[in-house]
Symmetry: C2
Amino acid sequence: MSRTIAVLGGTGAEGFGLALRWAQAGETVIIGSRDAKRAQEAADKIKQRAGAIAKISGMENAAACAAAELLVLTVPFEGHAALLKQLKPVFRSGSIVVDATVPLAASVGGRVSRTLGVWQGSAAQETAELVPDGVSVVAAFQNVGSEILNAEGPIDCDVIVCSDDIEAGKTVRALAAKIPGVRAIDGGKLENARILEQITALLIGLSIRHKGHSGIRITGLPPAAYTGG
Amino acid sequence: MSRTIAVLGGTGAEGFGLALRWAQAGETVIIGSRDAKRAQEAADKIKQRAGAIAKISGMENAAACAAAELLVLTVPFEGHAALLKQLKPVFRSGSIVVDATVPLAASVGGRVSRTLGVWQGSAAQETAELVPDGVSVVAAFQNVGSEILNAEGPIDCDVIVCSDDIEAGKTVRALAAKIPGVRAIDGGKLENARILEQITALLIGLSIRHKGHSGIRITGLPPAAYTGG
């Protein structure tokens, strides 16, 4: 599959970690950033860690968006809606926006262990309202912390994937399963993103309280639920 | 520790399963129900499964509440506030109310995979508003499904325990750790109960979608976080 993945906000720790993991898996990745130079620097760092074979480059966010059909949003919530409005004329028709955003209260000076109420129900549902027709939205990766992504070795965390577009959900589960250790689970409709976003706040609270880097595993489902298929 | 545990709403599947597990662990348990006769029948069934040694009895909810200092609420959300108002004059001072209630939309004819918005933030926080002074509220056990509790063998699910009363939280973590397989994790303040309640809706949705009995495990914390201490 010759898709290109653009990680928008990819100079932040979460986006950088995802881009690193996909570059290591042999995917073609573009780091997007407000600043093309910083995007290029992040891409160079990933090339150093993943090896010269890594297919990675860096661009300004809008250019990255125009160059890919699989877009991953990893910006802080305070920049989320503004970025989507900026990208609106640039999206390719048929592209998939994977939203990993969590509306942490830290965006407005509150705590990282609390979320803001988003009118649409979740950041991902806000995204669905802000993208043009023909662009699908998938919620995923909120619960995989940046420290875990940027560390070496397999990840002890499941990725729950929610979307109203069944095919887009399947594509993103396959992408998630490229990260060693991750099991990608179909979490149903996009409306469930609100729960994934809340779980992140809980995990951040647990990580602070117990001094760790917490994640979640879902137990008790039949093997087929964990295949990412 | 010679405490008595009263499981209010203990004739329902969730309460029955918790009472069974604690009876099997040698705890003194009272099943509470609106109907004393049904409570007694449930207690007899638990005695059959746990062995004659089980210290279990059945009473009407208010009598059970008056006879114990550790009360576990496992009633459907639609009966939650009414029960607490009924019990208000009966609570012993210094007792602990463990709230396992989830405000599922099913309470008002909606889906079991969605929650209602509760003004106070969560069912457990509503409970905190409805109990008399001197009674502590702890949120726990929302994420352990009744099918899992009522099956044989250890449970593949963590119990996250939230309370504003540190000592009460500790007591309930010790109680949770009596259930084989359960790791009891301090989840911080009672306000975080809202996330535990949402997780249940997600787990129910996953169980329906994938035909299983799902639970959660928290990964990535240091060993001390899982001891229940």
